[in-house]
């Protein structure tokens, strides 16, 4: 073990981004799922459409995981040869690169879930409008995608 904590900060960033992305998505899928379950008790034939809407806030968890894996690949953790001599600068840079994901992913998952709940209620009244509901809900995800992109560019650029 070297004296600096470079690798630790890199892994801390990866851990936080995977955890918070997963946290946001779990919360979001749960919120949307509750609404979807309520609707499908009355209208079971809408299950397919509701399932898509419920799954939408689930992507943030995957994005967080994706950033974490990229960091771990770059630190050599996944190839079994962790870069223990990583400098403090590099380690903190990895941590910084995770920040867009850490902040945006859970928040966007939460708000996307709120949007999904509204869309689910809309689909309950107007099953034909599910395409519109899905589109409106997916719009929220744009910013999670951009945060993911920012993190990816930073991680691969270090």
């Amino acid at each position: 073990m070297s004296d600096n904590y470079g690798l630790f900060y890199a892994i801390l960033g990866a851990a936080l981004v995977a955890s918070l992305g997963g946290f946001g998505s779990a919360l979001g899928v749960q919120m949307a799922g509750k609404a979807a379950a309520g609707v499908s008790s009355e209208k079971p034939e809408l299950f397919g459409k509701l399932l898509i809407l419920q799954a939408l806030p689930g992507t943030q968890g995957i994005y967080g995981f994706l950033i974490a894996v990229l960091v771990l690949i770059n630190c050599g953790v996944l190839s079994g040869a962790p870069d223990v001599a990583m400098s403090m600068d590099t380690g903190l840079s990895y941590f910084a690169a995770c920040i867009p994901g850490i902040i945006v992913l859970p928040i966007s998952a939460y708000f996307q879930a709120k949007m999904a709940v509204s869309s689910i209620n809309m689909v309950a009244k107007q099953p034909d409008a599910s395409g519109k509901g899905i589109t409106m809900t997916v719009l929220v995800e744009t910013y999670a995608v951009l945060a993911l992109l920012a993190s990816i560019l930073m991680v691969t650029g270090i």
Partner: protein, 624 residues
């Protein structure tokens, strides 16, 4: 392409009305419209509606008795001749099913009453005298009732004090069934005091029977009823074999309701109707009328500007599948260019790029191909399956270009998304730029068709020049050309975007404002970075699954678990990837692509036709 519609105005004799409607419905070519304000829309079809409801209810009733078929549902097909004839047997069948159901319900209700009675008598099962003897006057008076166990000692003392006798018949939770006897003279006094102890009198009916006899009889009738219910349910299960007949009956009733409610105006001797018809099927329409009558007059007119005819699309098999994607957003209105032929190709390309794994592509091809073949889904479900089916080819092609096979990498031809995200981002954005330019070109085509030539220059050519020009700026060798293209594009926008304005200052003002729209183009193009995000997330997840499997695969048991992890992991990743690719590709079409030219708002073509909810197909020689 969008099929032009014509408006049919038809007059015929009233005596031919029914036959005419039947024929029109058989051919299914006319979507009736309200030809007159005071037309009677409130037509009584309550008899058929009641029949339809009964049929649906019977279907529900026998559904639970239907044997689970192995594998898949078979198709129900009938000939048209069978469909049009009302079989009186079917109504009898309904009646029998309803009667059976009613009997079952009565028996069940009866059993509930019997059970209650049984529960009343059960505590007294071991009473050793006949019920009628309880009230026969002797010197003593006999009481029966319930008492809480905690008061039983006080109760015993009381009875013994008055020289009476008692017996505990049974214990029921915290209370017990007690019978006691006392002298007639003491009765009122004891009654008073036992009441204070919480003794509640139970009055047993006075019959010349033992309680055990009554219980036996009750139990017998309950079992008897159960047996009867079982037999009746068996016979219901038998009717489940007749499901197809009831389904036919339900569809026939729905068809009749539809026909009865057709918007048709009557005079003393004639009937008049208006409706939309497809201009490419006029021969069929003519045939549907001449087949039933010679005495008619009809006229076909083009829709007026103020009218909104329904939208009918006619495309090849490939494009047809992707119509479901556009329909989820909005149907094209009849006055615009059908976006589907162009959209379908882009959807196909982008969908495959987001999936981006040859192994997954092959899996999709096989699984969805088999499902299409075996399940024979109908309507939009079928189209959705077809979108994935066609998309699997694109997925395989991109997978080979990326060199990705179930998360393993072999010889990437183009690039490897995980290791070269910048290159992948560039490819995504360039593809996005092409997608947007294509949208602008569709708009130009629309304007060209409508002979609006100036907007082609100001709305399409200008932006295309600007987009390509800015793109070329990034390459040193073409930067000079790019610069001038971008400048000329921007100049055209400033000069011509406000072409509707006469005032030159206002015109330039609008032009400058339009140029500000360039920011939205920036956002649009950046939005295509999601292609990178999705391609990468499915690639990384696939890679992680392989890594997990490899970690486990150390000995024989390990290989077994590794195989499980590998299969479940990839199936999960494929399912999530499919969902994401489906919604995000749709979004790129709806927001970025359609935003450039598409209006939508068309209404579906719903002609008077056979109502097939349960029946899969009616075979009719007119359709060949």
């Amino acid at each position: 392409m969008i099929v032009p519609m014509k408006k049919l105005k038809l007059v015929a004799l009233k005596e031919d009305k029914e036959r005419l409607l039947v024929s029109l419905q058989r051919y299914g070519e006319v979507m009736f419209t309200k030809c007159n304000e005071d037309i009677n829309t409130d037509i009584d079809a309550s008899k058929e509606e009641a029949l339809l409801q009964r049929a649906e209810k019977s279907l529900l009733l026998i559904r639970k008795f239907k044997e689970k078929q192995k594998g898949l549902r078979n198709q129900i097909e009938v000939d048209y001749d069978e469909f049009k004839t009302n079989n009186p047997m079917q109504e009898d069948l309904l009646k029998t099913i309803e009667k059976t159901d009613e009997e079952i319900n009565t028996l069940k209700q009866e059993n509930i009453t019997l059970q209650e009675k049984l529960a009343f008598f059960l505590p007294w099962a071991s009473l050793e005298i006949m019920l009628s003897d309880l009230s026969t006057p002797h010197a003593a008076i006999i009481h029966t009732g319930m008492l809480e166990i905690r008061n039983s000692e006080a109760f015993m003392d009381l009875i013994v004090k008055y020289g009476g006798e008692f017996q505990i018949i049974s214990i029921l939770g915290y209370s017990q069934a007690i019978v006691y006897a006392c002298y007639e003279d003491d009765d009122t006094e004891i009654k008073e005091q036992t009441k204070n102890l919480g003794f509640t009198e139970v009055i047993l009916p006075s019959e010349k029977k033992y309680v055990s006899e009554i219980i036996l009889k009750l139990q017998n009738s309950i079992t008897n009823n159960h047996q009867q219910i079982e037999t009746l349910e068996l016979s219901l299960a038998e009717y489940a074999n007749e499901t197809d007949k009831i389904k036919l009956f339900a569809d026939q009733a729905a068809t009749t309701i539809m026909r009865k409610k057709a918007l048709i105006q009557e005079t003393i001797d004639t009937v008049y109707l208006e409706g939309w018809v497809r201009s490419d099927r006029l021969q069929r329409l003519q045939k549907s009328i001449t087949e039933v009558t010679d005495i008619y007059d009809f006229e076909l007119v083009d829709p007026e500007q103020s009218e909104m005819p329904p939208t009918v699309l006619k495309n090849n098999k490939f494009v047809d599948a992707f119509e479901s994607v556009t329909d989820m957003f909005s149907k094209p209105n009849p006055y615009e260019v059908d976006p589907n032929p162009v959209m379908s190709v882009w959807y196909w390309i982008i969908f495959g790029m987001m999936m981006g794994d040859a192994g997954y592509g092959v899996l999709m091809l096989v699984v969805v191909g088999l499902m299409l073949k075996k399940m024979k889904p109908k309507g939009n479900m079928r189209r959705l399956f077809l979108v994935i089916f066609y998309g699997s080819f694109s997925t395989i092609i991109w997978g080979i270009l990326f060199g990705s096979y179930f998360g393993f990498t072999f010889f990437p031809i183009l690039l490897e998304p995980i290791n070269e995200p910048l290159k992948m981002l560039l490819v995504s954005l360039i593809l996005g730029g092409c997608h947007l330019i294509c949208g602008l070109m569709v708009k130009a085509y629309h304007n060209f068709r409508d002979r609006h030539y100036l907007p082609i220059l100001s709305d399409s050519v200008s932006w295309i020049l600007l987009l390509i020009g800015v793109g070329l700026l990034f390459l040193p060798s073409t930067a000079e050309i790019g610069k001038w293209m971008a400048i000329s594009g921007a100049a055209i926008i400033v000069l011509f975007a406000g072409w509707k304005q006469k005032n030159p200052i206002a015109r330039i003002g609008i032009g400058l404002y339009s140029l500000y729209g360039a920011t939205s183009y920036l956002g649009d193009i950046l939005s295509y970075s999601r292609i990178l995000a999705l391609a990468m997330s499915s690639a990384v997840l696939g890679m992680v699954m392989n890594m997990l499997a490899a970690m486990l695969a150390t000995n024989i048991i390990g290989y077994f678990f590794a195989a499980i992890v590998f299969v479940i992991g990839h199936v999960f990743n494929l399912a999530m990837g499919l969902l994401s690719a489906y919604v995000h590709t749709s979004r790129l079409q709806y927001i970025e692509f359609f935003g450039k030219f598409y209006e939508g708002g068309g209404i579906p073509f719903q002609p008077l036709t056979l109502q097939l909810k349960h029946i899969d197909m009616v075979n009719d020689n007119i359709n060949q």
